[in-house]
């Protein structure tokens, strides 16, 4: 009989203790929404910045842009090629 009462007591204490823990955690977490909202905004801002930087990078590194820049700088297409066929001696006159 004593054991049963003790067991019930322990169970009641566990239930009560866990309820207190839940209330405490809920109170702690209740105001985190504001912080979370700020973090979310920050993440969105970084994502947006990342996207804008990627856009800029792609535009600058496109062949269309590089060719235009090269043309503005006065570069022209190489029309003649120099090709070595077979093994050339290191020095002809030695």
């Amino acid at each position: 009989m004593k054991k049963q009462v003790l067991l019930i007591g322990i169970l009641v204490l566990i239930v009560f203790g866990l309820s207190l823990v839940r209330i405490y955690i809920s109170n702690q977490v209740a105001t985190s929404g504001v912080m979370l909202s700020q973090i979310q905004q920050q993440v969105d801002a970084y994502k947006m910045q990342n996207m804008l930087l990627a856009e800029n990078l792609y535009t600058k590194s496109s062949l269309t842009n590089i060719a235009q820049e090269a043309s503005n700088e006065g570069y022209v297409e190489q029309k003649t090629d120099f090709v070595l066929n077979g093994q050339a001696p290191v020095a002809y006159k030695q």
Binding site: V29, A30, S32, G33, V34, L36, S37, Q40, M48, M51, L52, A54, E55, Y58, T59, S61, S62, L63, T64, A67, D81, V83, L84, N85, G86
Partner: protein, 560 residues
């Protein structure tokens, strides 16, 4: 009495089962839907539009990506000084004052002012701190290489519901893959409207679009577009196109058409420019078709390279029509190597007649002529071959030299690639791999479509085409020191039931290096005016591009 008890008992059990079934329906079948409805009452539901997948070249550079832009909207009821705000908005957004004024005069809480605004303009407006003006994010397609490969890519427009939809080319063919799946997010808020941590962002079902990794080489595509544009302008053609393929895998390395359009402002261009002529235009291929017919006849053992043509001494009369050579020069007792070298129409009539109609249809079918190639682009067309009983003698004769038959450029390129690939025809494809939103990549494996001719026949045909390049009418343009197989083409254009002698489609098809081809290329010029012949117009463009490609691949001439 017993049956009454049983009746009542069974009635109660039946009712109980009905209740159980109803509960099962609401609590299991409809559970997620009801849960979402409940959440919507104490939170906010947002539709998450997935980001459209990118289209990248083989080096991983995006030809079509996404960029963020902004929609500027206003609440006219919050605006204090309408005239001043109208002027500021119109000048900053470069809009008509009247249209902005009309929008701000509406008796509404929300009116759109301008969409697709860049971040710089948005910042400028934000600094002005205009009352009643707000912004919302938008994603739109961004093309870092501007109009490069425009017809290959297609464009993104709107469907009838106002949602993004891909049209034409890759955007059209892979629209479902690129679009991804729309999702729904619920943000549960507290009494102050702040999000609750435990219930934050319960999103469901949203999947970003998959990225397409193309076999297209960006450097080759850029080079080809430049050379094609220069060529069309130099030879006074109305338009032109170039396709380059790896004959061993069917991978498209470049595909360009000129004139093209800018996919960013596609609405400013004529609808006709949206089509990719390389897969959507039918034309009579002319002499570029001869290698297919010749290799068919050789494969069927009807002719050999040494076979003498016994009707090549003059024009040939078939079915009441007199058929001549393109330059009115005739070579009696010419052999098959010389027939291709001189692009001799009478010689090809001789070959076609040996092949007969059934042989012609059989071999052309194996080369994929008259059928879709299956390329992964929206808009491919095909003109089926006529049934055997509808072929007249003159049809057989003219098909021998590529007139009176319609093909798409991709059909001809793929068929010629079969000769380059030892007689094995591959399915042409543009996408090499698909990368899903989680980063998993699926490679698209090359697919063999048919084996129209044997490896031996392909080898002999290659040598005949090399001879045509070295000794034919386009030999002046050839690259010395390289073994390049090719064939010129000058096809008359049928106009009102007859061929116009002054309007032609000039073309050149070939592959290099002939012994181990890295690429097969088809160049087509539509109605060149400087010269009507392929040897004078398309051939130099072909060799100019081929020279750059051989350099690009690090293949040096052999010195012979």
């Amino acid at each position: 009495m017993t049956w009454r008890y049983r009746f009542v008992f069974l009635g109660l059990v039946g009712l109980f089962l009905l209740v159980v079934l109803r509960l099962f329906y609401w609590q299991v079948v409809k559970a997620s839907e009801l849960s979402l409805l409940g959440q919507q009452q104490y939170g906010t539901t947002q539709t998450i539009v997935p980001q459209r997948g990118e289209i990248e070249t083989s080096d991983g550079f995006p030809l079509a990506a996404n960029k963020i832009s902004y929609l500027v909207f206003a609440n006219p009821k919050e605006i204090v000084n309408k005239d001043a705000e109208t002027t500021v908005l119109a000048s900053t957004l470069q809009l008509d004052i009247a249209s902005v004024s009309a929008s701000l005069s509406l008796d509404r809480f929300w009116v759109p002012i301008a969409s697709g605004i860049d971040s710089g303009t948005k910042q400028k407006l934000e600094q002005m701190n205009l009352p009643g003006v707000g912004f919302s994010n938008q994603y739109q397609r961004f093309y870092p290489e501007a109009s490069m490969a425009a017809q290959l890519l297609g464009f993104v427009g709107k469907d009838s519901a106002g949602n993004d939809k891909g049209y034409s080319g890759l955007e059209g063919f892979y629209d479902r893959l690129l679009s991804g799946k729309e999702g729904l997010a619920v943000e549960v808020n507290d009494a102050f409207g702040k999000p609750i941590l435990a219930e934050m962002n319960q999103s469901s079902g949203e999947t970003d679009g998959a990225n397409l990794i193309l076999s297209v080489d960006r450097s080759i595509q850029f080079l080809v577009e430049q050379k094609l544009k220069d060529g069309v302008e130099q030879y006074g053609a109305t338009s032109g196109m170039v396709g380059i393929m790896d004959p061993k895998t069917g991978a498209i390395l470049a595909m360009a058409a000129y004139p093209n359009f800018d996919p960013r402002d596609y609405q400013d261009y004529s609808d006709s420019l949206y089509r990719n002529p390389f897969i959507s235009d039918l034309y009579e291929p002319g002499s570029t078709f001869k290698p297919l017919v010749m290799s068919a006849a050789m494969d069927a053992k009807l002719v050999t390279p040494d076979t003498k043509c016994d009707n090549c001494a003059g024009s040939v009369s078939v079915g009441g029509y007199s058929l001549e050579t393109w330059d009115n020069k005739y070579f009696p007792n010419t052999n098959m190597v010389e027939v291709i070298q001189h692009s001799d129409n009478t010689g090809m009539i001789f070959v076609a007649q040996k092949l007969k109609v059934d042989g012609m249809i059989n071999y052309l079918g194996k080369f994929g002529i008259g059928d879709y190639t299956g390329i992964d682009l929206q808009g491919e067309v095909s003109s089926p071959l006529k049934p055997e009983n509808q072929w007249y003698a003159v049809d057989l004769a003219t098909t021998g030299f590529g007139q009176g038959i319609s093909v798409t450029p991709i059909e001809l390129l793929d068929a010629t690639a079969a000769i380059a690939n030892g007689g094995v025809r591959m399915e042409p494809h543009v996408v090499a791999a698909v990368q899903d939103a989680s980063g998993n990549t699926t490679q698209i494996q090359p697919k063999v479509l048919d084996t129209p001719v044997s490896a031996g026949t392909a080898k002999v045909m290659t040598e005949i085409m090399i001879n045509a390049v070295n000794k034919g009418e386009a030999s002046w343009a050839r690259l010395k020191g390289y073994r390049i197989a090719g064939k010129t083409g000058t096809a008359s254009i049928p106009v009102s039931g007859h061929y116009d002698p002054n309007q032609t489609i000039a073309s050149f098809v070939g592959f290099a290096p002939a012994d181990n081809p890295k690429f097969v290329m088809l160049v087509i010029l539509n109605r060149p005016t400087v010269s009507i012949y392929g040897a004078d117009t398309a051939a130099p463009i072909f060799f100019d591009i081929a020279k750059s490609l051989l350099n690009y691949y690090g293949i040096s001439p052999d010195g012979n």
